[in-house]
């Protein structure tokens, strides 16, 4: 409560929002007055605001259509990222004033102070060959750090990129089209804004709802949003936004950019892609740990990665009639590849289950190359015991 009072005082001194606050001040219930009044802070325990603008995380939109991060909201980017039907994404963090920095963890998500709001805005770019393409905003997902857990709140943008409205039940079967990075016209009629209760299908890597992207290995690299930031982690440490970062960046895990050969070997890039696209479910603690597949980057045991592993409950459509998750050197007979190669018309086989309705062609090519490579001698050095003969034609 003291912190709340301090913040309130600070705000009254610093911002022109006094009038708005005063207007609400007659209501004694703290949450309703201070949370959704267009102020620069938010009571995390309060019910989610009706409109995204009420959190004051953004300051309007720019001429391309993107939300402009407000003072105190900073952008982060990932070395490799989740594919969501080719949508473009803006990811931001806002730490509550006076609550201290986020805390470094080597492998798990960073620790964030109560009141932190993390956002991810999804947008359709008209023409992905143009880095400055205009965008149509679809949704902004909020994760709000409450005292005991993260709270998820989905917001759906209006058609004019003006504001987004809270929609806890999400929306199914959204249609849009765009031109992809290769100049191909693409479209989907099955894009999904997940409901709040569906967030946990990805965001419960360790049972409790948690963030996925803000881990050291995804953030350890240059910002793709601001080219002047050579390394996001050191930049934030210097600004006092991050504490506990090891002095030597060589001690900090770092994932490759899945599609930039300068950042890692084929194996490193494929594993980076599998990490950010799959490992939040395919690990040993999530609710689908029963599948027995573990795609976290620190796993070196070939069978846990799916090599010569029979699926546990994938069913006919889930396997395409194939026997093993991965047959080294044989992508055409590897279930992992098959499940990336189907679109949402195959609701049983498609992986990942949420977020994707069309085929991610560059990723499919990457993983095909990787499975091909797993059949080489080079791969046997990386994954001892892996051989093509170990499962083929059994």
């Amino acid at each position: 409560m003291n912190r709340m009072a301090r913040r309130l005082a600070l705000l009254l001194l610093l911002t022109p929002a006094v009038a708005a606050l005063a207007a609400c001040g007659s209501d004694d219930s703290i949450g309703s007055t201070t949370s959704c009044a267009g102020t620069a802070f938010h009571d995390p325990e309060h019910a989610p605001c009706d409109q995204l603008s009420q959190y004051a995380l953004f300051d309007g939109t720019d001429d391309r259509g993107w939300p402009i991060p407000a003072e105190g909201t900073f952008v982060y980017t990932l070395n490799s990222s989740l594919f969501s039907d080719d949508t473009l994404k803006l990811r931001t963090i806002r730490l509550p004033e006076g609550a201290g920095p986020m805390r470094y963890q080597p492998d798990l998500p960073f620790d964030f102070p109560v009141g932190t709001i993390i956002t991810k805005t999804f947008a359709v770019g008209e023409d992905l060959r143009d880095p400055d393409t205009p965008v149509h905003l679809l949704e902004t997902r909020l994760l709000i750090r409450r005292a005991d857990e993260w709270f998820a709140a989905p917001y759906e943008w209006d058609d004019e990129n003006r504001d987004a409205r809270h929609r806890a039940i999400g929306r199914n079967n959204i249609s849009f089209s765009w031109i992809d990075a290769e100049g191909q016209e693409r479209s989907t009629d099955r894009y999904t804004i997940p409901a709040r209760t569906e967030c946990g299908q990805c965001h419960r890597e360790r049972r409790d709802l948690d963030v996925i992207g803000p881990k050291a290995r995804h953030l350890n690299g240059p910002s793709r949003h601001d080219p002047s930031i050579e390394n996001q982690l050191t930049h934030w440490a210097e600004l006092g936004l991050l504490e506990g970062l090891p002095d030597d960046l060589a001690d900090v895990p770092r994932n490759a950019d899945a599609f930039d050969p300068h950042t890692g070997t084929l194996d490193e890039r494929a594993r980076a892609w599998l990490d950010i696209n799959c490992a939040h479910c395919h690990n040993d603690t999530s609710e689908v740990a029963s599948s027995g597949l573990d795609l976290r980057p620190n796993i070196d045991e070939a069978r846990l990665l799916g090599v010569c592993k029979t699926p546990s409950a994938a069913g006919a459509d889930g396997t395409g009639g194939l026997r093993y998750d991965i047959i080294p050197g044989d992508p055409d007979r590897s279930i992992l590849v098959y499940r990336m190669s189907v679109d949402a018309s195959n609701t049983i086989a498609i992986m990942p289950r949420l977020a994707r309705s069309i085929v991610d062609e560059p990723a499919l090519a990457l993983i095909r190359d990787w499975v091909e490579w797993l059949g080489t001698e080079d791969a046997e050095n990386r994954y001892p015991g892996i051989t093509r003969a170990s499962c083929i034609d059994r």
Partner: protein, 473 residues
């Protein structure tokens, strides 16, 4: 009740629960009249077991009325507070999407399976209801789920589940495009499933998978591929269920490559396993696809199973079989799955009643074809497959007559079909060798085992605290 389990099950459960929906059900299912809602009175039956962890909660009753559409109902699920009782009135709803839930101690409550009907006919994706990891101590009771695209009710990764007086059915043809599981609790701890009815699931009707501590009683499974299925589960009490006219009545089994690698400690008693002769309509890559129609019960690769006081009747391929995992999946690679124990160990059968069955194995599946061939070469006087079939595939390093400790009680005076299979011949699918060593010798299996520990009802077992270690031997 103990004296007449079969009568109880057939007369009681079948009459009360398994009747077609179209018929009115007088005085069945609903123990109470409609609750008028005194200020503090909750629409929960005090005679039912409830989650202790939720006992002291302030509960809200959230009504669901027939004027609500799918979005409005889903909004109630999404906004559910811990302890909410989401209370469907009598009525029928056409559902248009999967409903998901992630708050703890929530009760989904209907007015009875003939009164409250949720129909997902026409959906092209999704389950009916999905309950995720955040929704510990979940209860669903007294309603009907129809025609879901995928599983009817899936509960995944939760602690504490009660599924009670639910009816889950696909009302169209028995087709592989039906959802695979009617009720599908998986990766859970402390489960009670009672008085449920499952019909025409393309894999399993009443299913439990990879759970610790499950009590499964008083359920009816009819016209599913697999009626009642207990997979990779540690501690299960399976009693007084009726499995009738499925492809396979009961499957108690372990599958490889799952987080809970080897199930253990299952007690199966006072169940009725009747005429499970329905066509096999599974997807062709499901394990269940390989099961011949007319199979009463299979214990597959599971250890520590005590099977007593059950009634097996008229299952045309075989009434009971305890077999190696490879018998249903000969392609399985033991070498690259060293943690998975393919052998059924310490199976103890006694005081069961058998009649009919084994007289017409389904030759449409390898195992049934094999049994049919065996039937033709059985010695005089054995005109049908014996009620108990055991493959007797012994590990290479084993010694003695009965290394897997397969035990049949003294009460059993029928025959045993002992396949005496050779693992290498099985892998090589060498039928001639496989059928070379058959006998009907029961002597090695006249033995008794220590009782399997009883699984307590809804006992609180936290993560990693299971009293039964997950082990192989």
């Amino acid at each position: 009740m103990v004296d007449h389990p079969f009568r109880l099950i057939r007369a009681g459960l079948l009459a009360c629960i398994a009747l077609p929906l179209a018929l009115a059900l007088p005085a069945c299912g609903d123990d109470d009249d409609d609750v008028d809602g005194g200020a503090t009175e909750l629409p929960l039956n005090p005679n039912d077991h409830h989650h202790e962890a939720c006992a002291d909660m302030d509960r809200r009753v959230v009504p669901v009325t027939t004027d609500m559409d799918t979005d409005a109902i889903f909004q109630l699920f999404v906004d559910a507070e811990p302890g909410d009782i989401i209370h469907f009135e009598a009525g029928r709803w056409q559902m248009e999407r999967e409903l998901s839930l992630d708050a703890p101690c929530v009760v989904l409550k209907g007015a009875g399976t003939t009164e409250t009907i949720l129909d997902w006919e026409g959906t092209t994706s999704g389950k009916g209801i999905f309950v995720g990891t955040g929704a510990d101590h979940f209860t669903a009771e007294d309603f009907t789920i129809l025609n879901t695209f995928d599983n009817g009710l899936e509960v995944r990764g939760t602690e504490g589940i009660i599924m009670r007086r639910l009816h889950v059915e696909w009302t169209g043809d028995a087709a592989s495009s039906n959802g695979r599981y009617a009720v599908y609790p998986v990766e859970c701890r402390n489960l009670l499933m009672e008085h449920n009815v499952a019909r025409r699931a393309s894999d399993a009707g009443i299913y439990v998978g990879q759970c610790h501590n499950a009590v499964i009683r008083w359920n009816v499974a009819e016209e599913n591929v697999s009626g009642i299925q207990v997979e990779n589960t540690l501690g299960a009490e399976v009693y007084e269920n009726l499995s009738i006219n499925n492809t396979l009545g009961f499957l108690v089994h372990d599958l490889p490559n799952l987080a809970t690698t080897n199930g253990l400690d299952t007690r199966v008693y006072r169940n009725a396993v009747i005429a499970n002769n329905f066509q096999n309509f599974a997807n062709d890559f499901d394990l269940a696809f390989n099961v011949p129609s007319g199979t009463g019960m299979i214990v597959l690769a599971r250890d520590n199973v005590e099977i007593f006081d059950n009634v097996f009747e008229d299952n045309r391929s075989v009434n009971f079989a305890a077999v190696n995992y490879l018998l249903l999946n000969p392609d399985f690679d033991m070498g690259s799955n060293p943690d998975f124990d393919v052998y059924p160990r310490r199976i103890h059968l006694y005081d069961n009643t058998f009649s009919g069955g084994g007289d017409n194995p389904d030759i449409g599946r390898d195992l049934g074809f094999f049994l049919a061939a065996i039937r033709l070469q059985q010695p005089a006087g054995l005109d049908r497959i014996p009620d108990i079939v055991f493959d007797n595939i012994a590990p290479a390093d084993s010694t003695g007559d009965n290394p897997l400790q397969f035990c049949i009680g003294d009460d059993y005076d029928g025959h045993v079909l002992n396949l005496n299979m050779d693992l290498e011949a099985l892998i090589a699918e060498d039928i001639a060798t496989l059928s070379a060593n058959l006998d009907n010798e029961i002597a090695p299996y006249r033995c008794s085992l220590d009782p399997v520990p009883e699984t307590p009802m809804l006992e609180t077992v936290g993560p990693g605290e299971g009293t039964r270690p997950d082990h192989n031997r």
